[in-house]
């Protein structure tokens, strides 16, 4: 079996967790792992209704120079999770639904283990903006972000 990077395993875990939530209003194919978060149509669903989507992409690893033990290193593998929806500046449409998505994602990832990835000690979630106000006012889009960090302790080779 080919080796798979921790970052990819983590993103696949996050994707599977979000899909398993059965979030009302978003098809399973709307939860996507990407290299670079993007809503270009060629990256989204084949269906004309590309929105809403939840996009997942890696961020730069974090390394504490003194983190770990004499023989192990602590390395963090962060992942961005971004929720995109088109509500056309409507103050009511999808409001509670999208907040609930965010809440469910946080509760199902924060302070959890990543099943099947033993080298990840713990997942933590750092909330980003609930909604980006400038994009909402300019383009009528709901853009909401979270950051999931995987704490790992790795035996030094």
């Amino acid at each position: 079996m080919p080796a798979e990077s921790l970052h990819m395993q983590l993103m696949e875990h996050i994707q599977a967790e979000i899909v398993a939530l059965d979030l009302v209003g978003i098809p399973n194919g709307g939860v996507l792992i990407q290299k670079r978060l993007s809503d270009q149509e060629k990256y989204l669903l084949a269906s004309p209704n590309n929105y809403p989507v939840i996009l997942i992409a890696p961020e730069t690893e974090t390394i504490q120079p003194n983190g770990g033990t004499n023989i192990e290193d602590d390395i963090g593998y962060p992942v961005s999770v971004v929720i995109l929806d088109d509500d056309n500046q409507d103050q009511d449409v999808n409001y509670d639904r999208n907040l609930l998505w965010r809440q469910q994602i946080i509760r199902n990832l924060h302070n959890h283990h990543a099943a099947g990835i033993p080298s990840i000690r713990r997942l933590t979630v750092t909330p980003g903006a609930v909604i980006d106000p400038a994009t909402w006012s300019k383009a009528g889009l709901w853009v909401s972000s979270l950051r999931v960090n995987a704490e790992t302790r790795n035996l030094r080779p």
């Binding site: 670079r36 978060l37 993007s38 809503d39 270009q40 149509e41 004309p48 209704n49 590309n50 929105y51 996009l55 992409a57 961020e59 961005s80 971004v82 995109l84 088109d86 056309n88 500046q89 409507d90 980003g128 903006a129 980006d132 400038a134 994009t135 006012s137 300019k138 383009a139 009528g140 889009l141 853009v143 909401s144 972000s145």
Partner: protein, 118 residues
Amino acid sequence: MAATTPQISYALDWHWWDNTESVTASLTRRTTTTTVTISDAFRGDISRTAGDVLGAELVANSQIWSIPASLMGVNEFVQGDTITDADSVVWSVEGAVLVTLGNSKLYWTVATNKRKGS
């Protein structure tokens, strides 16, 4: 000495436009949505741009519309209104300018973005 020439209205200059199309404007104010059918809207520049928002690349498919002011009647465009074109594509209003000449209200220049999934 004040000018005595008759005042000319330019409000119907749009009659000279060609290649127009029929669109529908939906204007929401508080809890009421007013629908206005525009028989002669004129498509302007189209642009494709991308911006970075919270680390995500968001693509904008933008379209400028010219909408005769006389066909809008007393109605005006504001952000968040929509224009539905002849192909049923929905365009969300990002901003609008009413072009005037003296007392004449000529047309609205409306900057729009194609709604995602439209």
